[in-house]
Subunit: 431 residues, 2 copies
Amino acid sequence: MTEKPKKLSTESYKGVRDFYPADMAVQEYIFGVWKKTAESFGYEEYGASVLEPAELYRAKSGEEIVNEQTYTFIDRGKREVTLRPEMTPTVARMVAAKRREMGLPLRWYSIPNLFRYEQPQRGRLREHWQLNVDLFGVDSIDADVEIISIAYRIMKNFGAKDSDFVIKVSSRSWLNKWFDWLGLELGNEAESKRKKKLLFQLLDIKEKDPKRFAAGLKEVRADLTPENFSGKNIDPDSVEKNLNIDIKGMIRKLNNAGVKNVIVDLTGVARGFDYYTGMVFEIYDTNLENRRSLFGGGRYDDLTSLFGGDKIPAVGFGMGDVTIRDFLETHNLLNVSQAPSDCYVCVLSENEMQYASKIAEEIRAKGLRASIDLSYKKLGDQVSYANKHNIPFVVIVGANEVKSEKVTLKNMKIGEQKVMTLEEAIKTIQK
Amino acid sequence: MTEKPKKLSTESYKGVRDFYPADMAVQEYIFGVWKKTAESFGYEEYGASVLEPAELYRAKSGEEIVNEQTYTFIDRGKREVTLRPEMTPTVARMVAAKRREMGLPLRWYSIPNLFRYEQPQRGRLREHWQLNVDLFGVDSIDADVEIISIAYRIMKNFGAKDSDFVIKVSSRSWLNKWFDWLGLELGNEAESKRKKKLLFQLLDIKEKDPKRFAAGLKEVRADLTPENFSGKNIDPDSVEKNLNIDIKGMIRKLNNAGVKNVIVDLTGVARGFDYYTGMVFEIYDTNLENRRSLFGGGRYDDLTSLFGGDKIPAVGFGMGDVTIRDFLETHNLLNVSQAPSDCYVCVLSENEMQYASKIAEEIRAKGLRASIDLSYKKLGDQVSYANKHNIPFVVIVGANEVKSEKVTLKNMKIGEQKVMTLEEAIKTIQK
């Protein structure tokens, strides 16, 4: 370097997060529960790059969303590239590409990072991670039940009680027909489709933003009001019977599978994306001060057909890291204790380093974590580093230990220390 | 959707990879060995976004590299954003930001994805994942030894033998002084610095591309030839003594720590990045047909000072997923067996689904993976799905099993099936 560069900022890019070890431990804990639960249901992990051709999103989301709400840029090969805003188009693409050789059904999960171009605000950063769980190739209610059961089981595995959350279910196809049944008179077929799509988006903000909901309805038809869409105007039983959609059957099966905190809320679960075709669900926090949607999903049987070939029935959900972390903190369910190591090897002088390395390697060979102090500072300073970092055991190595081929083990919790063989020390640390 | 969209391509973006479950399992295996080894040495995981301000790279890499070799674009807030091409600037930024509150030393690791804008070729995709292991706050040889020991231990934990790879070490500061000692007459101070930087880059390609190496030397000084830089012209002992750099001491300590396959190769390890200040090392495959650098690292004591404040001594390495996967395949070390589930629950009719769900949930509660067949097809079809997916056990649930509150367990390997209690079945599967 011929000239001194100006001082660089230590800030991250706006709207994204740095994960220092304490935060990373929380992240890894959340990912761990996600992985373990999905795998316990026989789901296999897949992955893909965060970079996708922009056309993948234009097809279903439309120009406006891609241009204004995603990170899309032109590469030097003049290709339009998008940082993926959601995983569903990617997984549909991958399944469509290898449907023949893989054989259905497919049970897949992934934990991708997703990007949205928007002003950062609480719980809505520009980048977040999201568990995606999808079941391809089964079009029955049993598949819907399995997907909702996984979502339920994840909440339980995080330590949530049934009373901490409620699962609201609805049906996109039911709503579609209900709009007709209500006699909304939305115009010709094309016009009606466009307006129904708008209605789905509006229902998605019904609870979050009642004002914008009411205003939006006027755009659909001048005389529509929120009352037209209030639960009071719906008789699920009769409507359901008329429309021959077995929402109650699904609830019964969910109850049979042990999922009891589930309710039908036909206008309360619309989901933003317009690729859903059947069952949709959303899990709500029941905490009165935080009664909001945590995550959700639904059935989307048409998406793979965008890539040609037959339709593949699909049902799945996505669950974001930011929202669930918030939930776990609110409900006091986040107790990630973390020490960087199981034992800290203190070395009194350079003469003992060889013996210390050997000991540390033997401890590691038993599946334990061992870090070595490299400072040759006073023993007190070395022990206090271990203490500051919550490391439960200190192994002290000095000239006496080398001579006797033993170690001094200090239990940091009770403050006791003892000379013993390495084997004994390892057994004590393992407990 | 009012109009049918044109058929979308199922291809991923150019130069990046889709990870179907079989590939993802390999990826997870590699990441698992990385994580376990780094943690066994007391290293803590950290993370950050793939998006970084472009200025983070301009400072050390220069305009040209950022503009031509990275993905850099302008966001709608007119900020220049780069998809990180390496992790070291990020970790230096993070450490510099919180150096006061965290306390040194820090032992950190991460497994980020990195982007490079270049033509895809074998082993050099546009996106890859890379383990980064760094130790901050210790400037002694012991830290260098620890970092190289971790690299060595990872190779061993992958199943490599000492004879499969060799660790070459050199020293950037030694090389710097050696260039002077050789009397290269590189011009005034600024000119000399620029040319030394070029020499480091050239030494990096000495083995890979001897022609480009020779041509490059002419640009440094018209009469320079590869002979000037051949090992034969170097007497490490005398040079080392003269320059007072204890490379031999480091080798001795490595040997003491059990790392024997390490050699000094002063001109054979230059590393591309110019932020290294001391020890540099590279691990080479010893396979005659594939004798190339697998990965490497070194000491970089100046990087955190770019963010203001004192220098923090740092040493670390990076290890890419593509290269190591290649190595493992070449040496027959990759045997990732994968079944999506530990047992497959076959359900004979819808009447038994409730019982089947209950059983599956109890199996999962014991930490096992259980998937349920939702097809209600003939038993033979259900069993053959399990067979195709290498699932080792099948649990059959029909009317008899519901009545007797038992299950029929089929061991797919030996083909034997038996009626037993669920408890017995779980014990068998656990073995």
